[in-house]
Amino acid sequence: MENLDSVDLEKMKILKDYLKNFKDKPRVESNLITILHKVQDIFGYLDRSALEEVAETIQVPTSHIWGVATFYHYFKLKKPGKHIISVCLGTACYIKGADEIIAKLKEELKTDVGGVSPDGLFSLEEARCLGACSLAPVVMIDGKVYGNLTPQSVTQIIKEYKSKHK
């Protein structure tokens, strides 16, 4: 834990406080996924030293935690970009041309699905149905849904986000 900066230490403290709730709970190991959600909430992804802390508290081998963490798509193992872009690849969006949207985004952001753009600004992810099928094809950026997209309009949206960081 030697190279944690102060922000990370702060986060670690929040995690430790949260973990206290589980100390003497019966069947504590069954709460693993709930705890991993919390870790991701706090750190933005599953930070390695955080997972070691979890292993310690609920007395589960780290290997088991990694096994679980890698099984579920929802958990991120790498530090994400500043903005998280999820492209819906649900059925409705697929039928209405999500392919073109994702191709455009890969090109614009110079990264593949699951990766982070070289400038560190964007994570590109896939989602399965964001539940806005009537607006298909849709993309969600930091929780905000953009609908009825075309390759042109998505380029425009990315431009706007980029300009915020200039």
Binding site: R27, E29, S30, N31, L32, I33, T34, L36, H37, V60, G67, V68, F71, Y72, H73, Y74, F75, L89, G90, T91, A92, Y94, I95, K96, A127, R128, C129, L130, G131, A132, C133, S134, L135, A136, V138, V145, G147, P151
Partner: protein, 713 residues
């Protein structure tokens, strides 16, 4: 002695009082749709505009929220509900429209007609469609109104609308005529003609029928018009879009928790199970297993601990029924689960819900807290001696966790891998204890069955499939949205009457049900009734309720590949047929859509598919080949064209297209500039040419051409 039902009635009266107090100063309520889909369409901003107007004192109106009304294609929606008046629904409301509604409707009482979806006609007929009024007489009344209004050419002047429970369940069927605000109670279909002729045409209420002048002095909430709801029946969605899901008082006012009180007061666990069995309810999570029998099996096991689970993992990538139900009416699921717990002898419930549904999770948390506070959850519920508690567990994005044994592993904190059954969860489930797993929609049916009786429920639907089914209707259809139809409704009625037909009047090609485990049905199957057995014999399944309409612009091979990519990706890897088999199938499909298909590929797909279905461990693998096999069965010619002629009739598979420049070309050079591989040559003002050897068929030129000079075939 005070019984649970006495306690409940007292709480209900208090709840109604509280609602009245809140709305005491206003004669109107504004309901803004606040389900995930509405929020995505921008309803938060609309909500702020109304709230702001109230804060500034511009209007004296009570502003609140409601769940999804199922009109996804015209969201956001806003309802103005007024005491003694017909409610008005506005659709496609943006900031400008919202301000107009405030200025014209709320301040001056003038309806903004261009945006009104209902409530703007000269007269309105409101027919109660509360779950407790839905019977065959009610249906005949609707038909009688429809017929008489058409026969008398009143369609432009009169609209027929449907309301949720009016709270006069003993007086049903009920019809209210607006703006006169006159209610006809205990109405019979044969009297409808009289109402139309005397009341609607001559303007004289029919005094000799059972009428209530000044119909109902309260707020009447309408959910839709006859156009979209004629073929629908709302049992599961009975409160969705009508009540504020974050306020337990509104649920209590529409007979919420009455079933629970009834069960705890008058029924033994055995009687509850008997009632569910007799209703004929089958699981809505996909497999359609009889719910009552599952309950009986779990009840029979003796154990120191049992569990009740609500499966809200909704993994089908084109479906949002369970999410909308939870977002719109969370208490109905909680009530169902408590009743289930009482029936099987369990004190602990768990709702396993996708982490991707943050709003649904939030509403469930609020609902659980309110239910605890009111004494519907916790120790000694309503003084009955029965205790039950519910906890929420989040999924983490794994489709296979919808499968019940995988779901149980996930709740236990493990990788969500399924295991062979038997033993079924009813014998050995969560922490190896007997466990009852049911789907969200299954649970939501329980309170209605208890309150209205199994006999009433089993009258709805077909011989072997009872009740209704909720579908998320999406894809290339005009009215996308959440619908609920009686079992036995045909696919044609859903696609053309409720869905309004194909978008842009294109040609229908297929309808996909059952998501990645289901199949695609063609034109000739459109008259298949929606019930478990009929859909299976047509080559698909009921599934959990995703329904995607596909038109001529989509390629069936690509659709099959889409679903297989999904299942291949989601295969947990535990068993070989599913892990390796789906991979091989996907390779074959990929080469077919890329134009590299070989003679015999179709047969190979069939053979592999058959083997995977037979040999896989769980339902995921056993059903994964379905989309491929059903498209081969129903659209074999498309596969053959891809393989033999290297053609995709939908012009969807880019690798099979040829782009050519026609004589329309003006030499504007736009195409040449966008071509990423410099395959286009030509000088300005001259016809350009595409070098087919270099072309990668990306379609960029075709998209930029403004002169329709590039042909794609």
């Amino acid at each position: 002695m005070t019984t649970p039902i006495d306690v409940l009635y007292k709480k209900k009266l208090q709840a109604i009082d509280r609602i009245y107090n809140k709305t005491y100063f206003s004669d109107k309520i504004i309901y803004v749709g606040m389900a995930s889909c509405e929020i995505a369409a921008g309803s938060k901003e609309i909500m702020e505009i109304f709230k702001d107007a109230v804060k500034k004192g511009t209007i004296m109106t009570y502003v609140t929220q409601r769940g999804c009304v199922g009109l996804c294609s015209v969201e956001p929606t806003v309802d103005i509900v007024e005491k003694g008046k017909m409610s008005v629904r506005y659709i496609n409301v943006n900031a400008e429209v919202a301000k107009k509604i405030i200025e014209e409707h709320l301040k001056k009482g003038q309806i903004v007609k261009e945006h009104a979806y209902f409530g703007a006609k000269e007269k309105s007929i409101v027919i109660c469609q509360g779950a407790f009024c839905l019977n065959s007489e009610n249906q005949r009344i609707i038909e009688a109104f429809k017929e008489n209004i058409e026969n008398n050419n009143l369609k432009d002047k009169v609209e027929i609308c449907f309301s949720g429970c009016l709270g006069m369940c003993n007086e049903g069927p009920i019809v209210i005529v607006y703006p006169d605000n006159i209610a006809y109670t205990k109405l019979k279909a044969e009297d409808v003609k009289l109402i139309v002729e005397r009341h609607l045409i001559e303007g004289k209420p029919v005094e000799e029928l059972n009428i209530l002048k000044n119909g109902k002095p309260r707020f009447i909430k309408v959910f839709g018009t006859i156009d979209k709801f004629y073929k629908q029946k709302r049992i599961v969605l009975r409160n969705c879009g009508l009540i504020d899901p974050e306020n337990i008082d509104e649920y209590l006012a529409v007979r919420g928790y009455e079933s629970l009180a009834k069960v705890l007061t008058y029924m033994t666990p055995q009687q509850v199970i008997e009632e569910v069995k007799k209703s004929g309810l089958r699981g809505r999570g996909g497999a359609g297993y009889p719910t009552g029998i599952k309950w009986e099996l779990t009840a029979k096991e003796s154990s120191d601990e049992k569990f009740v689970i609500c499966n809200a993992d909704e993994g089908d990538p084109g479906a949002f029924m369970d999410r909308s139900t939870i977002e719109g009416d969370p208490h109905s699921i909680i009530e169902g689960m408590i009743i289930g717990g009482y029936a099987i002898g369990s004190n602990k419930g768990i709702i396993y819900i996708r982490a991707e549904y943050p709003l649904a999770v939030e509403r469930l948390n609020i609902a659980l807290e309110q239910a605890k506070k009111e004494g519907f959850l916790g120790e000694n519920i309503l003084g009955s001696g029965f205790s039950f508690d519910i906890e929420i567990r989040l999924g983490a994005g794994a489709f296979v966790c919808g499968e019940e044994t995988a779901l149980i592993h996930s709740i236990e904190g493990h990788r969500g891998m399924p295991r062979p059954r038997p033993p079924y969860p009813s014998v050995k489930g969560l922490f190896d204890k007997p466990t009852l797993v049911n789907n969200v929609e299954t649970w939501a049916n329980i309170p209605v069955i208890i309150i209205s009786g199994s006999e009433w429920f089993s009258e709805i639907g077909t011989k072997r499939s009872k009740g209704t089914k909720v579908f998320a209707l999406a894809g290339k259809v005009k009215n996308t949205g959440l619908i609920e139809v009686p079992m036995g409704t045909t696919l044609r009625e859903i696609v053309y009457e409720i869905g309004g037909g194909i978008l842009n009047d294109k040609k229908f090609k297929a309808v996909q049900t059952g998501g990645p485990s289901g199949g695609c049905l063609a034109e000739e199957h459109l008259d298949t009734p929606v019930d478990y057995e009929s859909l299976v014999s047509a080559g698909s399944i009921m599934g959990s309720g995703g329904m995607i309409v596909i038109d001529e612009e989509s390629c069936m091979v690509a659709v099959a590949k889409f679903f297989l990519e999904f299942t291949q990706d989601e295969s947990c890897g535990k068993c070989t047929p599913c892990r390796e088999g789906t991979k091989r199938m996907l390779e074959i499909l990929t080469r077919i859509v890329e134009g590299k298909g070989q003679e015999g590929d179709i047969e190979k797909l069939e053979r592999l598919g058959d083997m995977i279905k037979k040999a896989s461990l769980c339902g995921l693998g056993q059903s994964a080949p379905n989309p491929v096999l059903s498209t081969i069965k129903n659209f074999r010619e498309e596969y053959e064209e891809h393989i033999k002629n290297k053609k995709c009739r939908a012009r969807f598979c880019t690798n099979l297209l040829t782009y050519e420049i026609t004589d329309n070309c003006t030499g504007c050079t736009a195409c040449k500039k966008v071509c990423p591989v410099e395959a286009i040559s030509g000088s300005p003002k001259q016809k350009h040419l595409i070098n087919q050897q270099i072309c990668i068929k990306c379609g960029a030129c075709w998209r930029v051409c403004r002169f329709n000079a590039i042909s794609r075939s």
